[in-house]
């Protein structure tokens, strides 16, 4: 029996070329793991019924000598990414039976490289949440301790990789939705530069913040998948080329003052150990607290801008164009019933909050002010990146919390995003790297080191990621 749990994509690729196993063997290996683990963990909402057919085509391509690094590599998709002909529900009841009418650009790129798309993974409904408890279909469990959350919103994508149910997966990150679950599950999660990966075929949540990125077992795979999916796309006018990275790092900045409160003591110790590791490799650690003086406002800014954009983007779910609907007496009652009955509580909460901050009389007080402060935060980062090449911070202030622990208190749940949202507000790339464990109830829970680089400088993250 093959075991690829410790291999990176390059190593698997070499074994495929050498004929040690076939792409079909590889898919069968993961299908077996899914069959054994998915009932308990609930990472996958669906395993695609043509995964083996895709693998057979990959095997032909390998035989023909036209394989790329990704040919035959099984990859899972977050359930908000469209794959033509397959259900894509956004983990919402309102799209329970929706079948994608076209494929996302990232899907087209993976298919062109010969990757095998193995299934779609669970998430918080329309990517709103930090624990995957907001899925309309059930909670994804953390594979290290099943009484704990997987993180979110890309919880299924993180667990599918952490529990060896696929080689890698795609997630989406609006305020930390790739990095935080990666941190909770002990895998690598990359949020690329805003615009570096096309969002054509991604269900929009907050359009000035959303980006697609990979969840992987190691840094080599992060780079391979990012290189495959990035680039300018004529179907997404916010997309751009991303080839200018230098990969050079000398100084690493840490906003030490910002980490003084709200950070779990054990997570702090692990973070300091990670910094020592980097110092031992010859990197200089610099305190940049003075430069990032508006960082403390980032979560407040995020919770104005994000719901405002959510309330606009969610207007498309009206029960008329696609998805499920609940009939009303007339058109408008149908809207109320469909949206009231088929959208989950957190989605409704954010629609209301967004409607409030955008409404007459309040837009000046909230929305416009939030943009001003967002621009201040952007300037802070520009100043900081004149002194250092990369910034380091923990990904999450705590390890994975218990299922149900925060689900009744939305503000507490939002505070879990405190170290991740600014990268989305500024648009810069950031990665969560598994490093260090903290003990809770006899279980070793993973923690994440977050590294942040300037726009289009993902290569610097890959340079440092190789030490972990």
């Amino acid at each position: 029996m093959i075991d690829v749990s410790k291999l990176n994509i390059k190593e698997i690729h070499e074994k495929l070329l050498a004929g040690e196993f076939t792409a079909v063997d590889l898919v069968n290996y993961f299908l077996k793991n899914i069959a054994e683990k998915n009932n308990e963990l609930f990472a996958f909402l669906e395993v695609y019924n043509n995964a083996l057919d895709q693998a057979k085509i990959a095997d032909e391509r390998i035989k023909a000598g036209t394989a790329t690094l990704l040919t035959g590599i099984p990859i899972a998709l977050k359930d908000n990414i469209l794959f033509a002909g397959k259900t894509a529900s956004g983990a919402s009841k309102i799209l329970e039976n929706y079948k994608a009418t076209y494929s996302a650009t990232v899907v087209e790129k993976l298919l062109a490289a010969g990757a095998v798309l193995i299934g779609r993974t669970n998430m918080d409904e329309f990517a709103m949440g930090g624990s995957t408890e907001n899925s309309a279909y059930g909670v994804t469990k953390n594979p290290i301790d099943t009484s704990r959350v997987a993180g979110g919103s890309s919880g299924g994508s993180a667990v599918s990789v952490a529990a060896d149910m696929c080689v890698a997966s795609l997630g989406s990150d609006t305020g930390g939705s790739i990095r935080q679950p990666a941190s909770f599950c002990g895998v690598f999660g990359l949020k690329p530069t805003y615009g570096s990966v096309s969002r054509y075929g991604l269900m929009a949540m907050a359009s000035s913040l959303d980006v697609i990125g990979p969840v992987t077992k190691n840094i080599v795979d992060s780079e391979i998948i990012f290189d495959c999916i990035k680039g300018k796309d004529k179907y997404d006018s916010t997309s751009m080329e991303d080839n200018s990275g230098d990969g050079v790092v000398k100084k690493i900045g840490v906003p030490k003052d910002y980490l003084k409160s709200g950070l779990d003591e054990d997570v702090k110790i692990q973070f300091e150990n990670s910094l020592k590791k980097l110092e031992a490799e010859g990197y200089e650690i610099v305190d940049i607290s003075e430069d990032l003086k508006n960082l403390e406002h980032s979560l407040a800014v995020y919770y104005v801008i994000m719901p405002a954009e959510v309330s606009s983007n969610m207007a498309r779910y009206d029960g008329i164009k696609y998805g499920s609907n609940i009939e009303g007496q007339d058109l408008i009652e149908g809207y109320f019933k469909t949206r009231g009955g088929l959208l989950g509580k957190e989605v409704k909460r954010r629609i209301l909050l967004g409607t409030y901050v955008l409404s007459a009389g309040y837009a000046d007080q909230y929305y416009n002010k939030a943009w001003q402060v967002r621009n201040l935060i952007k300037k802070d980062f520009e100043a900081a990146f004149k002194k250092v090449e990369v910034i380091a911070m923990p990904t999450s202030p705590t390890p994975a919390f218990k299922i149900g622990e925060k689900s009744d208190d939305p503000l507490q749940m939002y505070l879990a995003d405190i170290f991740t949202v600014f990268a989305n507000l500024v648009g810069v790339p950031a990665i969560s790297i598994p490093d260090g464990l903290v003990k809770r109830e006899q279980k070793d829970l993973p923690t994440g080191l977050q590294l942040i680089a300037p726009h289009l400088q993902e290569k610097r993250l890959f340079t440092l990621g190789k030490y972990f």
Binding site: Y98, T101, H297, A300, G340, T355, S359, N368
Partner: protein
């Protein structure tokens, strides 16, 4: 925020809320608004503009026909109610 304020927002958003949600959401929204209220003070202490920033720019392109969408029938099929090549809606007037 009172339940009637939440009801007004729900009406504007075309979302039906249960009685339970109407009772619970005011407190939840208040606690979130409490958390975000200080950005007003931060913004008032700066000359920073609302939208302009060094990293935002407009992207324009020629308004050219790039070909018909390949799967129009698929789009029609996804509508809960359709007839021929049309999406059916209830009468508006």
């Amino acid at each position: 925020m009172k339940p009637e304020d939440v009801k007004k927002l729900a009406d504007l958003s075309r979302v039906e809320l249960s009685e339970q949600d109407l009772q619970k959401m005011p407190g939840e929204i208040d606690s979130i608004l409490g958390y975000i209220k200080n950005i007003s003070e931060v913004a008032n202490s700066t000359e920073e503009s609302v939208i302009e920033s060094a990293t935002t720019r407009n992207v324009t392109r020629a308004d050219e026909f790039i070909g018909e969408f390949a799967n129009t029938q698929g789009l029609i099929d996804e509508a809960p109610q359709a007839q021929d090549k049309y999406v059916r809606v209830k009468k508006i007037l």
